[in-house]
């Protein structure tokens, strides 16, 4: 703006000086300078306009980037975070725990029992409904600070931030109990669904989150082996 004022005052001074001149040369000069002034004003106007348009485009690109980022970490069926998003969240949570910025976390992997049979018996649409409703039930059972992700086909991951092991056990037990006592709604009627889970607490000697996930997965496998419809803690002797 200051530059604009400075330029304008010089242009006005030039016009005032030209007004005092006479003769054909002065007229030519005046016409030439008028043209240059017109050109200058037009370029200046265009530059301002381009800046405005460019800023708008950039803002739109940023918004699109945000949408793409959100889509890239969301599971389209359930609306939960997908595995990629869960990896990012686990990495951040592990770093925070390692740096002493958080009290750590508990991690559960939950797998719907006999899900293949649901698909085979009732079809994939009903299978999808079970996944969607199961996800909603999980969301409803956990705390707002917990992160729930679709880890694979019928497998879900719960990251319980800053949860003590006692808190995590109570949350998980509550979910299993609720699932047992209230069937999942589907278009063909209510279906009784059970699940198996593995739970573990982050240890400072876990090498990255991979080993935390591995321990939860191991406990989940043991819960399946022990007859399903239950959860097991990673340190449980049944997991050995």
């Amino acid at each position: 703006m200051a530059d604009q004022n400075r330029t304008d005052s010089r242009i006005n001074a030039l016009i005032a000086r030209l007004d005092g001149l006479d003769g054909a040369d002065a007229d030519d000069l005046r016409a030439e300078i008028d043209w240059l002034i017109g050109r200058y004003r037009r370029l200046d106007r265009n530059l301002n306009k381009i800046s405005r348009m460019s800023d708008r485009l950039q803002a739109e690109i940023m918004q699109l980037n945000d949408k793409l980022r959100a889509a890239s970490i969301t599971d389209p069926l359930t609306g939960l975070m997908n595995r990629r998003g869960a990896h990012d969240a686990l990495q951040m949570e592990t770093k925070a725990a390692q740096a002493g910025d958080s009290k750590g976390f508990c991690l559960a992997l939950i797998d719907i029992d006999f899900f293949k049979a649901v698909n085979d018996t009732h079809g994939h649409d009903v299978g999808d409904e079970v996944l969607v409703n199961f996800s909603a039930r999980l969301l409803g059972s956990m705390r707002e600070t917990d992160l729930i992700a679709r880890w694979g086909g019928e497998e879900f991951l719960i990251l319980m931030r800053e949860a003590s092991l006692a808190d995590a056990m109570a949350l998980l037990e509550g979910f299993h109990e609720a699932l047992r006592s209230r069937p999942v709604k589907t278009a063909i009627g209510p279906l009784t669904v059970t699940a198996s889970s593995g739970l573990c607490q982050y240890h400072s000697n876990d090498h990255g989150y991979d080993s935390t996930v591995y321990r939860a997965d191991h406990a989940l496998y043991a819960a399946k082996e022990a007859g399903r419809d239950q959860w097991l803690l990673a340190d449980d002797p049944k997991c050995d």
Binding site: R45, K49, I50, M53, S54
Partner: protein, 127 residues
């Protein structure tokens, strides 16, 4: 004689035709070429040659069907519009027709913004 320019469009650069018979400059597609200045240089030169041709006062038409322009393309478009506007002020018959997809609000807004400062006759068609 001014040359006949035909450029096949790509994903990032528009289809161009500069016709010396009809004096219609037609641009269609999306415009975000890698080097915008180089891309538009021969087109601007064609327009300049047409407007500077001695004894030719036939009407000149800029026909635009661009759905997207990057910043460099916007600058090139502004330069061409300014040149046409100058010719219009000097008495040449010129016109601009911009055909927009009615669902593409962004391009309609851009066309309006680009044409709001010119005095030459123009039409923004959205159907």
């Amino acid at each position: 004689m001014v040359e006949h320019i035909k450029i096949m469009g790509t994903r990032s650069s528009p289809t161009v035709e500069c016709n010396p018979e009809t004096l219609v400059l037609h641009l269609a597609g999306e415009s975000y070429p890698e080097n915008t200045f180089d891309f538009y240089k021969p087109i601007a030169a064609w327009l300049e040659a047409v407007l500077e041709q001695d004894g030719d006062d036939r009407p000149v038409t800029l026909n635009v069907e661009l759905a997207y322009l990057n910043t460099g393309s916007i600058k090139s478009m502004m330069d061409m519009l300014d040149r046409l506007d100058e010719a219009h002020e000097d008495g040449r018959v010129v016109k601009v027709i911009w055909l927009c997809d009615p669902d593409n609000e962004r391009i309609i807004e851009l066309a309006e913004e680009l044409l709001e400062d010119v005095s030459l006759p123009y039409q923004i068609i959205t159907d």
